[in-house]
């Protein structure tokens, strides 16, 4: 038997060379084939059968979103949310700067599927290579739908979808009180579909090759491939495409392996959860397995923390970053996260009082669910895992001063520069 099997991976990253340049339209079509012609119903069905879920962190079934916006009476708008304000994520920038045609194919296909008159790509103003990649690609394309690119301010919460829409509507780039949700009333009051660039890139592949092909990779519950940004104590930090169901060990291996014995992994980004390194063997990139250890992939982020670093100190730095990143609109988020952050610093400095931890836990419970967006929830979820996984370190800091070096985790700009 002659094997005709082509390698199953990479899919999204197929044809990506070491040049650093955006893939040309000719190369893009050579790798993936021309833009398919596919009807609206057919595309939604294909996406549904593929089992694709949104890759921006919310993990929502994409077909459900497509259907609900397509069914709206008013003409919707498609927004490609390429803000990627999670400091430890780089996959959307990789797609937009190097593989813009893949994202644009998906965007144009989705736009015609839902009957959108225009597509807006929202990017951070400092994502220079993404802007360049998109501009170059748009200059040579001939799409039926106009595609605009809008630069937004950097800052953790400015990428939240209601904040993106607020910015596009000419307001301050901060989350708004929902409902109405964007799919009901978003950009210029119209129903608005907000999609992550990776989700659209995956749709571009599903439209070409169909759901059966899509499911050749991954598991029954988590089909397909996923882009993961790996950073921290690994030899080759970067963006890697893996099949769902791959082990965390193989993901670390793809990133060149750890540079030292690992203490813990932060899965899902700064809203994510720490997992003790002892528990990672055997955990796979699959929703249910990650949930069983209290994790979700978020936007596909993994940070490896080596034993030489101090998990408590790193967690305090991340938490104070999140506290500073509050949009400044909701009292419990502004004052609560700040108070928790101050108390945590006392713990890390060995200056905690007997009830510091109890106070932190009580405040964490108090701020959960009390913002207009999920910023406080994400911050305290992260903190819960830190207190659990680094319990030993916390006890040690009571006794002696910590001398661990900084782990140099990636940090973006925290604040959106809004009131308060």
């Amino acid at each position: 038997v002659i094997s005709t099997a082509r390698p199953l991976l990479p899919r999204l990253l197929a044809g990506l060379d070491a040049s650093g340049d955006p893939m040309t339209l000719a190369d893009h079509e050579r790798v993936h084939g021309p833009m398919p012609s596919i009807g609206a119903e057919e595309l939604v069905d294909a996406v549904e059968h593929s089992g694709l879920r949104g890759r921006g962190g919310a993990d929502f079934p994409t077909a459900v979103k497509l259907r609900s916006v397509a069914a709206s009476r008013r003409r919707p708008t498609l927004i490609v949310n390429g803000s990627e304000t999670e400091p430890a994520s780089a996959k959307d920038r990789l797609l937009l700067s190097r593989l813009p045609h893949l994202v644009l194919d998906g965007a144009v296909l989705v736009a015609s599927t839902i009957g959108a008159r225009e597509v807006l790509v929202h990017l951070g103003e400092r994502a220079i290579t993404s802007h360049a990649g998109l501009a170059g690609a748009l200059a040579v394309r001939d799409d039926r739908v106009p595609v605009g690119v809008v630069a937004g301010p950097e800052g953790y919460v400015t990428g939240e979808e209601t904040a993106v829409i607020a910015h596009l509507n000419g307001s301050a780039p901060v989350p708004t009180f929902v409902p109405p949700r964007p799919y009901e009333r978003g950009y210029r009051g119209r129903p608005t579909l907000v999609q992550n660039p990776e989700t659209l890139a995956q749709i571009a592949l599903v439209a070409r090759r169909g759901p059966i092909w899509y499911r050749e990779l991954g598991t029954e519950a988590d089909p397909g491939s996923v882009l993961m940004t790996v950073s921290g104590a690994v030899r080759e930090p970067g963006v890697y495409e893996l099949a769902f169901g791959s082990s965390l060990a193989s993901l670390l291996g793809a990133a060149g392996g750890p540079t030292e014995p690992l203490r813990a992994l932060l899965i899902g980004g700064y809203f994510g959860t720490w997992v003790d390194a002892e528990r990672i063997t055997g955990i796979r990139l699959a929703r249910r397995e990650l949930q069983s250890v209290g994790c979700s992939l978020g936007a596909g982020v993994l940070i490896a923390l080596g034993e030489s670093a101090c998990g408590l100190h790193e967690s305090v730095r991340i938490f104070s970053y999140l506290a500073a990143a509050s949009a400044g609109q909701c009292g419990p988020c502004v004052y609560g996260l700040e108070a928790i952050s101050d108390e945590l610093m006392r713990v890390a400095d060995g200056a905690a009082t007997r009830d510091s931890l109890e106070r932190i836990r009580r405040w964490s419970g108090d701020v959960r669910g009390r913002g207009a967006c999920h910023h406080p929830d994400g911050a305290v979820r992260f903190l819960d895992s830190a207190l659990r996984v680094f319990a030993e370190e916390i006890a040690d800091h009571h006794r002696s001063r910590c001398r661990a070096a900084s782990a140099s985790l990636p940090f973006g700009r925290a604040t959106a520069g809004v009131r308060r």
């Binding site: 009180f177 009292g331 419990p332 009390r370």
Partner: protein
Amino acid sequence: MSDVLRVNPITCEGHGLCAELLPELIRLDDWGYPIIDQPDVPPGLERLARRAADACPTLALLLERRERAADRR
């Protein structure tokens, strides 16, 4: 069909009137912002809940019908 209490956290400025008028359902956190542990307004408290919502200086306390609130999950 019971009513449901909800706070718009963006407009809430922590005046705290609601907790004074409706301590049965609303308490304040350490920074003076309302916490609603049980959003369903039990029978007998509807009028007090309405009064608390009306008294909020920023109209941040919302009293909504059950079925509408269920939509918003």
